[in-house]
Symmetry: C2
Subunit: 418 residues, 2 copies
């Protein structure tokens, strides 16, 4: 009898370390070749399962799979595609099961954020209802760090390190120029609803850098903000501002919206940095510079956190181990044991408790005035950016891998995504 | 008789490696303690000489000075302040000489770009005319890479590496997302007149990344640009665009101006990326992401080019050696001997030939269609980004040094800058 195969897919916005989780899944599956057949990957995420565009990862060399550990982005392609509820689109769930059945897939590893955890949970429910034996394991991934239960999410530690390093470097720059030129540097970072990424910018305060953080959790108060910037520039001669893309006014409108929305219905944001930079110029007269890091922050494998890379790999490995141990509808988690020294263990959480819950910054992680992080937040964040895990370089550039991504021959009729 | 002292100042926009040049100057001067007394640094650049705000670098430990080699920004402060012509403001030049005379300064090391080379040259002329014995040596520094004679400028190799690495990483990201989401990534980089920094983005084409470069040297042609993006997205499913802040229309107007001008009268730019991103969305319908790297690119010591760091240090060291050998009104240069293997020697150029000349991208470094770099350009750029020179890290962040910057007691009456 043929061994059961596995299906792995990447979902949503990619990160600097989601491929490290893929590496953990595939290498661990290969180590259990007596119990797992092939690992198929979805070309462009779950869409590849619906359209039966499967990638045969067994065609990749051990070296290529190992190189995933230090390659950012989604090596098999990802997608922003949310399966609707079972009632609204049962057809898609049934198609997934049909594709899994056609290719002998009994393990489903879904690597994504909150929406994907929800999909993963629904697939496990439906397969059970349909009598199709399947183990669905969610591998957490999100730079937003907003999944519940797990102490942190792979992808976050690296973007946090990128943001902290970038704000530190740019702050040194503006400090150099402040006497006659730029006095305020504004950096916009990702984070629609949760301010974890912006919070990482606050880590530079420990080095004496005057920094103002604008969180999505705190309603923007223009007068208080300008007063804070004014006070810092008067005291230090300069300051840096880190603004979350999700920073918004009391009525809920974002400081900057581009007007378009993505497939999940989320507003596509960008451009809050120039808005507050000009606000400062107008009110206080300071020359400014601003940056919008956008994809650079989540793709910055060159300055990844070693802690993050290690955890991303470990959770991919654990997902396979959980599947082999008979688990279903679960997600491996990071359970923190202590801050200093940083200790954690890998735990496991039922998907029923993960799906559709966002974890925001606790109020006591944000300073009383709303513009900084507390020591408690610093103790939480600091371990997550520890350690450097540099990629190999060739000709001055990182030697990132591009896989062959050989297609598996389809067995079913074509399926149209509606 | 007291030994002659030296004065060192940083000028204009700072870089990831200008402190490496400072390190080269100070360490080399310390090695010649039999011939050079103290090295004074200008607090906030040349302004510190005018206001007699001198920093006594002899108060810094050998460890602190050594740490400058891996610390970005200007450790003594820089300024955007251009001395006017001798006729227009002889008073300032005479004040400089007076401060130098009061503090026994006979060596003037000025670390900057084209404007500073001009100032350095004028100071050497005036001191000669006034009968004040002074050796003025310019240490080249500019991320814009636009100084003549020298093959490249310290600061450029590191920003080039940052841009190439960032475009590579973001391109991997958009490639992952292109099936259902973002198809075009636009990154705006510095470079008002010369497209050297934007050109560095073209280095990723060698790895098969579809990339369009918009140079300030090429008048923006909207129809041709959109056709190129369209063709690349049709062929590859996605593409990246690197746009120089100096990209402009036929009538000379920049794609985006913030309206304000700096002390040198240069327009303060920013925001060209969202302009072309929205242009693409409107014409071709593609979802986009855009980033403006701004200070992040020139401060990114964490991903500096080892070649650049080495050259920055070597030119600082050479400046002192030239001074000790009796040179005046000169600038040490990088003279390239061969591309592969990369070989160069340190040369010397008279400042009369350096001042007020900008070096643009040669037309044969830009592809015929104006949207890419040629193999010749690639051979030029590639050696400049070679090698990694990582800073030490502490608690997950680079351990950059902040000097004590102890003031030298003023000896002259106050001077008001007009």
């Amino acid at each position: 009898m043929a061994l059961p195969n596995a299906f792995y897919a990447q979902s949503g916005g990619v990160t600097a370390v989601i491929n490290a989780s893929a590496c953990g899944v595939i290498e661990t599956a290969r180590k259990h070749a007596d119990r797992i057949g092939k690992v198929y990957a979805g070309r462009n995420g779950i869409i590849g399962a619906l359209t039966e565009e499967l990638i045969d990862t067994s065609r990749e060399s051990a070296e290529a799979i190992a190189a995933l550990r230090s390659t950012p982005s989604g090596a098999f392609g990802s997608c922003r595609y949310k399966l609707k509820s079972l009632d609204a689109n049962r057809r898609e769930y049934e198609r997934l099961i049909a594709v899994f059945a056609a290719h002998g897939i009994r393990y489903f590893f879904y690597n994504g954020g909150g929406d994907s955890a929800d999909t993963c949970f629904k697939v496990s429910q439906l397969s059970k209802a349909m009598g199709y034996e399947l183990q669905a394991i969610h591998v957490p991934k999100t730079i937003d760090n907003d999944l519940p239960i797990t102490d942190c999410c792979p992808g976050f530690g690296s973007v946090a390190k990128y943001v902290a390093v970038s704000v530190l470097e740019a702050s040194f720059d503006v400090r150099s120029m402040a006497r006659t030129s730029t006095k305020v540097f504004v950096m916009e970072v990702m984070g629609r609803h949760a301010g974890w990424i912006a919070a990482a910018g606050g880590l530079v305060a420990a080095q004496g850098i005057p920094v103002v953080i604008l969180f999505p959790e705190i309603v923007f108060d223009q007068a208080a903000f300008l007063a804070r910037v004014d006070a810092l520039v008067k005291e230090h001669g300069y300051c840096s501002v880190v603004i979350s893309e999700g920073c918004h006014h009391a009525d809920g409108t974002f400081l900057a919206e581009q007007g378009s929305r993505d497939a999940f219905g989320h507003a596509q944001l960008g451009g809050a940095a120039p808005v507050v930079a000009n606000m400062i110029k107008e009110a206080l007269g300071h020359k400014f510079h601003w940056a919008v890091a956008d994809y650079l922050q989540r793709a910055a494998r060159h300055v990844a956190s070693a802690t993050d890379v290690k955890q991303a790999y470990a959770l991919g490995r654990k997902a396979v181990q959980l599947a082999l141990a008979g688990h279903n509808a679960v997600m491996p988690t990071i359970d923190r044991i202590s801050d200093v020294p940083y200790k954690y263990r890998i735990g496991v959480a039922p998907l029923s408790k993960v799906a559709n819950t966002e974890k925001f910054m606790p109020r006591d992680f944000i300073s009383a005035d709303g513009f900084g992080i507390t020591p408690r937040c610093q103790r939480y964040l600091s371990p997550l950016i520890q350690g450097e895990d540099y990629p190999a370089y060739r000709d001055g550039l990182p030697a990132y891998v591009t896989l062959k991504n050989r297609a598996v021959k389809p067995k079913l009729p074509a399926f149209e995504i509606q």
